[in-house]
């Protein structure tokens, strides 16, 4: 057929070639094995590729929909912050970049806060959206995380954070670095109020986000294969000029090195979150005096079993084979919903959350 290629004009030639890229809006290529999956099916499968269980990145709104009962939640507005305090430009004006990201994602910045119920239990959650300038932590995102945490304290609700970020937002310079202590103050307030703070580390969680609120949770849950680190692999490779170990800085590696409590398949995530929040919350009605007495036990509830005979290598191997951890579960095996178990009179006013009914489509 070579002679044809030489004589036919390019436009017609492209019709003759058999391998054609599928249209972008219908298929999505798996980041794990390269197979194509139809986007609708992917969404129905919680953005997990059926071919090899590769976990695709999830936008903030879909994240919250997957978390809350019936996918319903109310958006909690984050306070406005000064835009572009440094008058920054890097080839393009920062304000233009912001505008583009807002149009693309229909978000105000990289963090979306939602309020709703999880198995009947009131929850405040925040999700970072990697599509919004790499989920980077700037003033708006920092303010949103802090606001979400404060909101949880006000509502006496557990707080769940879905981290996804390339790190600090360079365009805001030092003010972006200052979000590390600011968000940490939020974590401390949750802690002082004895409210569970669960971090779900998703692909990727890096830089200043990992080095502040994302590593300070009571329980750390990572999604399979997620890159979680402080300095990214590229930076490290440039510094030490050698090949990095396989699986370096991936969720399973962090599990083996004691940085996360578990690696959980997305299909099991909701059940796991619900269980953790329920058990942690079950001690909450107590007086502060009793809660103090429980302090020793809390460590164990977090899953830190010291003296485990398994060494890191074995743990990592197990996690990687991971049938128990990364296989989808059948419905009947799932954690039963415990709506009947919602406690009343734990310092809260006990009335049903008005926010729970609003649609999460705002």
């Amino acid at each position: 057929m070579n002679w044809i290629n030489n004589v036919v004009p390019p436009k017609i030639r492209s019709l003759l070639t058999t391998r054609r890229e599928p249209p972008d809006d219908f298929w999505r290529k798996c980041g794990g094995c390269g197979q194509m999956t139809d986007k609708k099916a992917l969404e129905q499968n919680q953005f997990v590729f059926p071919c090899c269980n590769h976990h695709d990145r999830v936008d903030a709104k879909s994240r919250l929909k997957l978390l809350f009962d019936k996918g319903e939640f109310t958006i909690v507005a984050a306070p406005e912050v000064p835009l572009d305090p440094l008058k920054f430009r890097d080839g393009k004006r920062y304000t233009d970049r912001l505008k583009e990201a807002k149009t693309k994602t229909e978000l105000t910045d990289a963090v979306l806060i939602g309020e709703g119920t999880l198995d009947g239990r009131p929850i405040v959650a925040a999700a970072q959206d990697f599509r919004f300038m790499g989920g980077s932590l700037g003033m708006a995102a920092g303010e949103a995380v802090a606001t979400a945490m404060e909101h949880a304290v006000d509502k006496r609700a557990p707080f769940i954070l879905f981290a996804a970020s390339g790190g600090a937002r360079m365009q805001e310079g030092i003010l972006s670095l200052m979000q590390m202590p600011r968000t940490t103050i939020g974590v401390r307030r949750l802690r002082a109020a004895r409210l569970p703070y669960i971090v779900v580390l998703t692909d990727p969680t890096t830089g200043g986000v990992t080095a502040s609120y994302a590593m300070l949770g009571d329980v750390h849950i990572a999604e399979p294969g997620a890159l979680i680190c402080f300095a990214g692999p590229r930076v490290i490779e440039q510094t030490i000029r050698e090949q990095l170990p396989e699986g370096f800085q991936r969720a399973e590696y962090l599990l083996a090195h004691g940085m996360v409590d578990m690696v959980v398949h997305r299909h099991k995530l909701r059940e796991t979150l619900s269980r953790v929040v329920r058990v942690l919350g079950s001690g909450q009605g107590d007086t502060s005096g009793r809660a103090k007495g429980l302090r020793g036990a809390r460590g164990r509830a977090n899953g830190h079993f010291n003296g485990s005979a398994l060494d890191g290598k074995e743990m990592e191997a197990l996690a990687r084979e991971g049938n128990a951890l990364i296989e989808p579960v059948a419905d009947e095996e799932r954690f039963p919903s415990r709506k009947a178990d919602v406690r009343t009179g734990r310092g809260d006013d006990g009335k049903p959350k008005s926010g729970g009914g609003a649609k999460g489509t705002a």
Binding site: V81, P82, P85, L86, F88, R89, D90, G91, M139, A146, A168, M170, Q171, E172, G173, I174, L175, S176, L177, M178, M180, P181, R182, T184, I185, V187, R188, G207, G208, T210, A211, S212, Y213, A214, M215, L216, C229, F230, A231, V235, I236, T239, I240, L244, P245, F248, Q249, H257, G258, M259
Partner: protein, 317 residues
């Protein structure tokens, strides 16, 4: 023999000429040469003052990094009596990139922690160029908690390009160590004063700089990422470091405008490295003033002050 920074070339030339004339005039007392020396010296001095009065952000970056600049242990030597170094994180290792210990500062017991870059090849390697691994931050946490228990004020001296990006550091939880250190700073019921003495680089700096009062030397810098790293991220080109330094607002003066720091400590003419003793004594006076302002505050008030300081940051620019 003084080393000169690139932009100091004209000053170097003048000073070289002065030195040359000096060696000529030493064998005979020629009046005209002596006059010429005086004139040139005056000129060099003036040029130095003029140059340093209007350094651009990139030039400041170079000044902040100059190896003769006084480092953490110089300040400790000049300001702290009975200094007793404490080592180790009690988990894994001793990391000399962060040094720390007990001592007396103008009559009060203090805990000092700081990044040490080292002053020659051997000490630079020992201190890993001031780039700490998780053990460094965990040691900092240990010392800060000890200070809190014994009611000692914490003085932290920041001088790092950033936390060390290595396989081992990541493996042992660099991010977690930094996060815990920020958390620990916020938990202190004793006053904490930070001085950025050279480079304040990224998470590696803020880990021990979440203080009640943050002071900064006139020609030091404080950034979210080193200009080179920021250039690599924004332009995918390390060569754009000058652009990054210029647009990121990293100088003490910029940070004062942004209300991120509280006070600028003026450096002697020609930078801290031209008069170490004077720099150290100025820093000492500023630290003393800062610590005095917190006298009489309760532990809760100090914690509240610190949290408030950071929470209002950026809300009014």
């Amino acid at each position: 023999m003084r080393t000169y920074i690139e932009f100091e070339k004209p000053i170097a030339e003048l000073e070289a000429k002065v030195a040359e004339l000096r060696s000529l005039s030493s064998d005979g007392s020629n009046v005209s040469i002596a006059e010429e020396i005086g004139r040139l010296e005056q000129k060099a001095k003036q040029l130095l003052a003029e140059t340093y009065a209007k350094l651009n952000p990139w030039q400041k970056t170079m000044v902040a990094r100059v190896s003769e600049r006084p480092h953490c242990l110089d300040y400790v030597g000049g300001l702290i009596e009975d200094f007793t170094t404490l080592a180790g994180d009690r988990y894994y290792a001793e990391d000399a990139a962060i040094v720390g210990g007990l001592g007396t500062f103008r009559g009060r017991g203090v805990m000092v922690i700081g990044h040490e870059k080292g002053h020659d090849t051997e000490s630079r390697i020992k201190h890993n160029f001031g780039m700490a691994r998780p053990e460094g931050y965990r040691k900092a946490v240990r010392l800060m908690e000890m200070a809190d228990r014994f009611g000692l004020a914490v003085i932290s001296l920041v001088d790092t390009a950033g936390a060390y990006p290595g396989v081992g550091a990541e493996e042992r939880g660099q991010a977690e160590a930094i996060a815990r250190s920020i958390d620990c700073c916020l938990s202190l019921g004793v006053p904490m004063v930070t001085v950025i003495i050279g480079e304040g680089g990224s998470g590696g700096a803020i880990a021990i700089a979440t203080a009640n009062r943050i002071l900064m030397l006139e020609h030091s810098i404080y950034t979210v990422a080193s200009p080179e790293a920021a250039a690599a991220i924004l332009w995918r080109d390390k060569g754009k470091a000058i652009d990054a330094a210029t647009s990121m607002r990293i100088t003490a003066q910029d940070l004062m405008d942004l209300k991120v720091i509280d006070e600028i400590i003026p450096e002697p003419v020609g930078g801290a490295h031209r008069d170490k003793a004077e720099t150290i004594s100025r820093a000492g006076a500023a630290i003393e003033k800062a610590l005095k302002s917190f006298d009489g505050l309760s532990a809760d008030e100090l914690r509240e002050h610190r949290a408030e300081r950071f929470m209002k940051m950026g809300r009014s620019i």
